[in-house]
């Protein structure tokens, strides 16, 4: 007998949330991954709350940003 098929619906009908969809995709994907894994450095668990692009190390993009957050010296671009 063939395996039961585990099927999941895709919803690609989402409203555009940003005028910079590639950056938004990276942010979303990082957030999604951080709901499933814990990053480590060596054996030490590392909590991260943002990222920089390799070609622009002066700008931090926050993950899971919330209201209390303030911009740091580099300037932030919450999405």
């Amino acid at each position: 007998m063939a395996d039961y098929v585990f099927r999941y619906r895709l919803d690609t009908d989402q409203a555009p949330g940003s005028n910079d969809p590639v950056l938004e995709m990276i942010r979303t994907q990082l957030e999604n991954i951080l709901d499933v894994v814990v990053p480590v450095e060596g054996r030490r668990e590392v909590k991260i709350d943002g990222f920089k692009l390799l070609r622009d190390r002066g700008t931090i993009y926050r993950l899971f940003s919330h209201e209390q957050e303030s911009a740091d010296v580099f300037g932030e671009h919450p999405l």
């Binding site: 039961y4 098929v5 999604n32 919330h66």
Partner: protein
Amino acid sequence: MADHTIPLEDTVPFLKRQLESLLSVVVLEKDGEAVEVDGFRMRDEREPARGRPAGVREGQAESTWQDIRNASLYEPRIELIKRQLESLLGLVEVQRNGDVVEVDGFRLRNLKHWLSPSACDPSEVFGYAGARCNCDCIFCCNKGNAATLALGNLKRPPAEELSEMMTRLDYFYPKPSRCLFPSLGDIYEVMMHPHVMEVLRSLRDRTPRVFRITTNGDCLTPETIAQLAQMKPVYLYVSLNSASAERRRALMRSRHPEVAIESLHLLKDAGIPYAAVAVAWPFGSRREMLEDLSGTVAYADACGAHLVQVNLPGYSRYFSEEKLFDLDEVWSEVVSCVRGLRSETCCPVVVMPSMYEENLYEKTKNVAKVIGVVKNSPAARSGLMKGDVIRKVGGVVVQSKPQARDLLSFLQRSDIREVTLVVGREGGSVEVPVNLEDFTYPYTRETDHHLGAVFVGTGLRLSYLESLRGLIDSRNAQHVLFLSSALVKPTFEQVLSESHLFGGVDVDIEVPRNTFFGGNVFMGDLLVVQDFVDCIKGYLERGAGRPDLVVIPSSPFSLGGWRRDLTGRVYLDIEREVGIPVELLECSPIFD
């Protein structure tokens, strides 16, 4: 045209790698058919992403899609794949032979990739038979579930459920302890599934483990019981609720109340041990309810029940927005009634959640006090009695209830034939030699746990305190906020005050409200992320100082092992919202 931080053309290799990676584990679908793709192109930004054209094919059963919320609880990597695909498909269109193809879903490519560590309990296969019910209990807890709970049921034909169960059986590996990730929703009546016997028989070929089946009893005809008897070891939890046909019909809207009532005799005759379960729902007058409960317990006892389990009633705000009864009034009356019944019955009578009784009546918690002894068990035949406190097992000094349970459980599974218990009884100490081979129905080695001794709940393991200290040290914390539950807090406070591990550390204990479920629900294991967030924020607002660590028992996040609450939300969101480090203290659910 938007000024992009990353030019779209620079992202092509990145998108390609991601798509290839995702398509190595899933197959895209359109209208229920697999869609193989071999390329992609960037979407034209001037046109919004084309929506899911239909999502569900004309005539295709909605239920053939799995519930993604359920996956977010049990196997969030599937949710991750879904989100990653959706994120990518917002930017690109997939192609086949140069033509754009539309997709509306995906399927898992190879189920062998999706095996999870598992205890491989048989219910992980036959539980999927419990998709519907032939009763309609007025207190059914499934009626009180929120729509956002990750435990919804798929509506699909029984043949499809059978297909899933047989597939799960194909990937059921008790030896390496692995099986397919679970996707169980609410479980209703397993025994009414038209294919359940077929599944159970196939399961019996794969595992010798006990089939522990919860049933309302309406299907327990002589024929069904005879079939179950061929598949021992089997243990049934029969939701009897009342031994009166009239009351059972009213409480459960059972069409054939006499079937379940009669089944207790038949189960005994067939040598199938069972627990008779009754929800002490305040239906009619309180007195009426307690009288019926007494009669039901007496009936089950006379029918040779292994034990009687009395469930204290509760309801969520989704079940009723109105207050239906005073919880403490009803619960304390029921517990008092049960304590009286114990002196009249042979079989143990337990109240769930059991810690409520311990909190009401026991000044010192976590003690290995016996509240009942299974008839014809080694414990019963050796003379162990209700009220005995186990102090030594085979020369090992017992310091807590979980330790006593562990020792007795170990003995039961071992080849040891005799052991001597030392028990506290009527102010003195008594030696009780136990012959582990001296037993008969309703006790069996396969279905029992502690040689027949029954305690008030599982208790709190003292090793949790050492783990807590370890967490505190790992964070160099001085001020710790520990989030407990109303039921566990008294025991936790006691063991904490008896411990010497916490010098120099302030440990504040708070009990979050079950706002998510509401009603009179107050079980710690039913708390969700938002309840914990609200509790911590409330603590901070009260000016009790900012803790440098919050510790939460892991049990509310234990389903599936991915640290998700019952809505599928990950515990890490608590720390993200309150900005204070949060650690989970590994522990088993204490509810017993």
